[in-house]
Amino acid sequence: MSVVTDTSVRSEENFRVTRSRRNVAWTGAGALIVVVVLALFPYIVYSGTTSLMVQGFIIVTLASMWNLLAGYAGLVSVGQQAFVGLGAYFVLILAQHSLSPFGGLPVAAIGCGVAAVPLWWLVSRLRSGYFAIATWVLATTIMLFIEKFPSIGGGTGMSLPGLSGYDPTLLVAYTYWIGLAVTVLALVTVYVMLRGRIGLVLTAVRDDEVAARSSGARVGLARMLVFVVAAIGCGAAGAVLAISQLIVQPGAVFTVQWTAKMAFAVVIGGLGTIEGPILGAIIYMILQQTLQSYNAWYLIVLGLIAVVVALFARRGLWGLVDDHLHVRLFPVGYWLWTPESSGRRGSGRRGIRPRRASQHRGGRHS
């Protein structure tokens, strides 16, 4: 916090602090255009393409949530499939009680958030690696528990009721729009969270947990909030998954492969950047589509790339882009403009290097 107030006081002496190096309005307008164009896709392209893009939306949403957990709150969860599964099953249960799956989706997402609170209480007792496996055990336990109820399909699963009345083409379009809406909402939530106070707390914790705690940062609360938000996001993605697959099977929704996909997308795209998970999800979709005829190969390739990227380019591909082009689509940090640099602003890409006053990005871990 001190950095921010400090520079804003001194800004009268020719210092300026901005969120971004370029005008945010342009990126905002650009994002709006992208969303509008994406929203028009069902009118332009075949339904095969939109179905594929729904899978992409699911991965982007999941990856953004996992990035929030691992990249910002330092929580490596290997059990996010718990919420993917819960989201899907909540939609199924609501649909059985004659609530349309589209209307059930927000309820299911909120339900996941509520469920996350007691689960957080349990798993937060363990740290780092043991936290990771504890979330995994939790996901498996929830799956085994759900399999005990034959009324929601038991161990074999069940098709989702309530969608048979729709025209198939229309259903694909609705699914696409709801997938897009969930993704946009997830990204906006992450952006707003990280720009605000909680983003500052998380960045402080990431850089030095002891110092952050002693400055009065409520670390536990911030982490819990992130866990709950990630549960809501993953639950919403799970609900979209159920609607797009029209069937809910415990083995398919509770598989650890969901966490593998989101984690690999984040690591490859760029841990601790908002843009990274989007880029990673696109790379994931490309690899999956190219290698899908070779069964498990895409996961092998993804895993290997993720390991190499984690070791040798820990800010991922977006980190490389950012280092060379200084592009930030979602600026959450601050740029400090000194008198020398602001005088020459816009005169050229190479000449000016405004300093980052506060870096909300994946820097070095302690």
Partner: protein, 291 residues
């Protein structure tokens, strides 16, 4: 009587789970590495044993003579290269790398071998038999042997760590890496040795599981990693005897669950794990809470 049987079977399978947990516990205790690929490495051990048995026709029981050194070597090499590189970059990267390794191993086994279940045939020997106590309790020699192996491994490890030269070095590095380094210990080498030992026990765990039950590429995460972890947490982090106790508690919980209804077996084990996490997060044996 059926309940007594369930408890006895549970105690004996607990030995197997403690064997699963041994390597995980050792690597965390020494290197502070939580190896998410632990279970998949045990499955690799089982597949290597299967290969060795098929090629050399040695009895499954003796396959460990070849498999344990192979896995120990793999452990040393992996620790000195991949895991050390990850460790140098922090806890987060270590978790990501071992998770990546886990997924790559599992998918690789599915891709290059197949999804079929295999088991290590023990063949006709005394081990396949069992003896009875009363009319309801039957104890398989194999399970008794696995339990004995687990106890011997844990005892041996305890003895090795407290008495031998390398054991002292390992404890020194685990306690204070920098001080140990100042005293002339090459901690990377010591880490490698510890990983070799851990992988040796992982190989034993894989072979034991292969003889006891059937394994497939997904066994590593479904069963071995999660059971090993549950045993470690129930028993208390960082205690070898706690691990044995944790394994036994998990085994007994599973068998009692199965006694109520066959489909409850795994759920009962995990529920006991969650119960321990809720009321006694430091585990059954540990004195203070782990942070």
């Amino acid at each position: 009587m059926a309940w007594v049987n369930a408890i006895i079977q549970g105690i004996l399978t607990g030995g197997l789970y403690a064997l699963f947990a041994c390597g995980l516990s050792l690597m965390f205790g020494v290197m502070k590495v939580v190896n998410l690929a632990h279970g998949d490495l045990a499955v690799i051990g089982a597949y290597v044993a299967l290969g060795v048995i098929t090629v050399t026709h040695i009895p499954a029981l003796w396959s460990f003579v070849i498999v344990v050194p192979i896995m120990a070597l793999l452990g040393y090499v992996l620790q000195r290269t991949l895991i050390q590189a990850a460790l140098d970059r922090g806890v987060l990267i270590t978790l990501l790398v071992t998770f990546g390794l886990s997924v790559v191993i599992e998918s690789g086994l599915l891709q290059f071998i197949n999804a079929d279940s295999h088991s290590l045939g023990v063949g006709e020997s005394i081990v396949t038999g069992s003896f009875s106590i009363g009319s309801q309790i039957q104890i398989a020699y194999l399970l008794l042997l696995i339990f004995a192996v687990a106890v011997v491994v844990l005892l041996g490890l305890q003895y090795f760590l407290s008495v031998s030269r390398y054991g002292r070095m390992i404890r020194a590095v685990a306690d204070d890496q920098e001080a140990a380094q100042l005293s002339g210990i090459d901690y990377r080498h010591v880490f490698g040795i510890a990983a070799a030992i851990a992988f040796g026990t992982v190989a034993l765990a894989g072979i034991a599981y292969g003889m006891y039950s059937q394994f497939s590429p997904t066994t590593g995460t479904d069963t071995i990693l999660l059971f090993a972890f549950a045993a470690v947490v129930i028993g208390g982090l960082g205690s070898l005897w706690g691990t044995l106790l944790g394994g036994i508690v998990l085994g007994v919980a599973q068998q009692i669950g199965a006694q109520i209804n066959q489909s409850n077996q795994f759920l009962a084990g995990y529920l006991v794990f969650l119960l321990v996490l809720a009321v006694r997060p430091q585990g059954l044996t540990a004195r203070r809470a782990q942070s």
